[in-house]
C-alpha cells in the first residue's frame, strides 16, 4: 500500500546531498551572473554565493549592483541576477519569503 510522505520535501532538504546540489546550482547561477554582458568590466569577486542554513544565497555586492539589476533614469535594467536564475532553469519567485 502506498502511503504519501507529507514530510518528503522537508526530509529531502535536510539531506546532505541535496544541500550540496543546491550549492552547486547556486554557483552555476553565479557563473551566469559573472558572464552577463553588462558586467564584463566589473569585479567578478563581487558575485558571492553563501550557504545560510537551509538557503543558498547568490548576491552581487558591487556598489552599482542595484543599477545593473533595477536600472535608473540613466540606464534601463539589465537584471543579471533575475535573468541568470531563470536561465539556470529555476523558477524565479519574485514575491520572496
Amino acid at each position: 500500500m502506498f502511503r504519501l510522505n507529507a514530510r518528503l520535501a522537508n526530509e529531502l532538504e535536510n539531506e546532505v546531498a541535496y544541500r550540496l546540489r543546491l550549492a552547486e546550482v547556486g554557483h552555476k547561477v553565479a557563473d551566469r551572473v559573472r558572464a552577463h554582458d553588462v558586467m564584463r568590466t566589473k569585479n567578478k569577486d563581487k558575485i558571492v554565493v553563501v550557504a545560510d542554513g537551509d538557503d543558498v544565497l547568490v548576491g552581487n555586492t558591487d556598489h552599482g549592483a542595484h543599477l545593473d539589476e533595477w536600472g535608473s533614469v540613466n540606464n534601463p535594467p539589465s537584471a543579471p541576477l533575475r535573468t541568470s536564475v531563470r536561465a539556470a532553469g529555476l523558477r524565479l519567485d519574485e514575491h520572496g519569503k
Binding site: 542595484h66 543599477l67 533595477w70 536600472g71 535608473s72 533614469v73 540613466n74 534601463p76 535594467p77 539589465s78 537584471a79 533575475r82 535573468t83 531563470r86 536561465a87 524565479l92 519574485e94 514575491h95
Partner: protein
C-alpha cells in the same frame, strides 16, 4: 517572426485611458527628454520560447515596466501608476492587435525601487510581468 512586444505593450498602455490620464503619451523604452511628470519605461529582459518545442512561436516575454513619479510626483502617484499598469496587464489579452496574439499575462511582482540617481530620490515602482504572445496567422 515573433512579436515586437515592447511596441505592442507600449501601444497598449498608451491607448488605455486610465494609464494616459497619468502619463499622457510618456510610455516608451527610453527615458523621456523632460523628467517633471510621470512616465513609464518598458524594458524587455528575456524572451524564451514556451516549453521544449524547437518552434520559435509562442514566447514568454519577461519585462520590467518602470513607473516613475517624475520630479514633481510622489510615492503615492508612482504607486497609483504601478497599480494602474497591473490592472491594465490583467486585461491585455482582451485587446485588439493586428499582428500579434496575446495569450495571457502574469504580474510576477511589483515593488518600490526609488531612483537614487536623483537628488532628492525620485519615487519609482517596478512592475515585472510575463506576457505570453505569438505572431498572428498571416503576420510577417
Amino acid at each position: 517572426m515573433i512579436p515586437f512586444i515592447e511596441k505592442v505593450l507600449g501601444d497598449y498602455l498608451r491607448g488605455r485611458s486610465d494609464v494616459s490620464a497619468i502619463t499622457g503619451t510618456r510610455v516608451a523604452t527610453k527615458t523621456p527628454p523632460t523628467l517633471d511628470d510621470p512616465w513609464i519605461r518598458i524594458t524587455l529582459l528575456d524572451d524564451p520560447p514556451v516549453g521544449k518545442s524547437t518552434a520559435d512561436h509562442l514566447i514568454a516575454f519577461y519585462a520590467d515596466i518602470e513607473c516613475f513619479a517624475g520630479r514633481k510626483g510622489s510615492r503615492s502617484e508612482a504607486n497609483l501608476l504601478a497599480r494602474t499598469v497591473r490592472a491594465a496587464l490583467g486585461e491585455i489579452k482582451d485587446g485588439e492587435y493586428t499582428e500579434t496574439v496575446i495569450s495571457g499575462a502574469r504580474v510576477e511582482g511589483s515593488r518600490p525601487r526609488p531612483d537614487t540617481i536623483f537628488e532628492p530620490t525620485m519615487d519609482r515602482y517596478i512592475v515585472t510581468a510575463t506576457i505570453w504572445a505569438h505572431a498572428a496567422v498571416g503576420a510577417s
